[in-house]
């Protein structure tokens, strides 16, 4: 198809799409205009009955805990798939010796200023991640958010150009263990509900005082479990991709 025909096609289809979009947007309710009974009910029930001050986390780890279990294993399965696809093949070899540029770091742009900045960023990200995991039921955040922030901490080492140091801080066995432990821990906490309250994933621990660190029953534990899993999952995906880039070499036949 020539450029002229494509432009002509766009000239017809573009305004049509715009018109449909505008009609659709016109019929939307105003922002904040909400009449769903479920949302109002959750807003009323969760802070009072579950002593959680962040209703989003309360939804994820209590009312819809089973959905979160499914989501967790979707993440687990997809990361396992990435690890399987990017595994080392028979004629591939991880060759650090011939990759001096990787071993000594130095890719273009990793200046002293950038390395100082990364030194400053790593503790900041790690402490923010730990905070988010622990305060999941209290403030915005929770397991997933904590996991991605925690995973970004070690990734900053790459920003400083020290990929091998990143591999030392977060070796693959540790990431795999963290991914698997987190996923298993969430399922096992659910099993606790089955044992102590005869309902799977039921919030069976004492609820404590609203606003305290140890409150809202199993939610802080769930949050930590999900945080562990997501940290492992994200870092494992990143290192698998970066390994392929920087370390894996095809053997000369």
């Amino acid at each position: 198809m020539s450029r002229r025909v494509r432009l002509l096609l766009f000239a017809c289809a573009g305004p049509g799409l715009l018109a449909v979009l505008l009609i659709g947007l016109h019929g939307l309710p105003a922002f904040g205009d909400f009449h769903g009974p479920y949302g109002l009910l959750v807003d009323r029930v969760e802070p009072g009955q579950r002593h959680a001050t962040d209703v989003v986390t309360a939804l994820n780890f209590d009312l819809r805990a089973f959905d979160t279990l499914g989501e967790e294993f979707i993440l687990f399965a997809s990361v396992s798939g990435v690890a399987l696809l990017l595994r080392h093949l028979r004629d591939e070899d991880e060759d650090v010796e011939s990759n001096r540029s990787v071993a000594n770091h130095r890719f273009a742009g990793a200046s002293d200023a950038l390395r100082v900045l990364s030194l400053f960023l790593i503790p900041l990200l790690v402490s923010l991640g730990v905070y988010l995991a622990l305060h999941g039921a209290l403030t915005p955040g929770g397991g997933f958010q904590a996991g991605v922030v925690l995973a970004a901490g070690p990734l900053v080492i790459l920003l400083a150009g020290r990929y091998l140091a990143l591999k030392r801080v977060a070796p693959k066995w540790l990431l795999e263990a963290s991914d698997a432990t987190g996923a298993a821990a969430y399922a096992l906490i659910g099993l606790g509900g089955l044992i102590f309250a005869s309902i799977y994933l039921k919030n069976f621990l004492p609820l404590g005082t609203s606003g305290h660190l140890l409150s809202a029953g199993t939610m802080p534990l769930n949050s930590i479990a999900v945080g562990l899993e997501v940290t492992g999952a994200f870092l494992l995906t990143w290192t698998e991709f970066l390994d392929q880039d920087l370390l894996v070499q095809r053997e000369e036949l």
Binding site: D54, V56, G141, G142, Q145, V148, F241, Q244, D245, R250
Partner: protein
């Protein structure tokens, strides 16, 4: 809708359009990262801090890193393929 919300929406529209109009994939990955930041701000303005925190890392760091790694590998692959052909002759 407040002025802040309108500005947030406009910034996201501008960043999204910018991704499409950048021709080079390498630069596109970086603009995508900026788009992730714009989305983070938008979620925050619309009072969804939980979603904003996820988007902050996934959109502005997670995706671009994987895209950059893939681009590098494609470049390596293309260079390696040419060498092989030369070697075979």
């Amino acid at each position: 809708m407040t002025a802040l919300q309108a500005v947030g929406l406009l910034v996201v529209v501008a960043a999204g359009t910018a991704i499409v109009f950048v021709p080079d994939p390498l630069r596109q990955a970086l603009v995508l990262s900026i788009y992730g930041l714009a989305l983070t701000l938008l979620f925050f303005i619309f009072q969804a801090p939980d979603v904003a925190l996820s988007e902050l890392v996934v959109g502005s760091v997670g995706m671009p890193v994987i895209i950059l790694a893939a681009l590098r590998k494609i470049a390596q692959h293309a260079a390696g393929g040419e060498e092989d052909e030369e070697g075979g002759e």
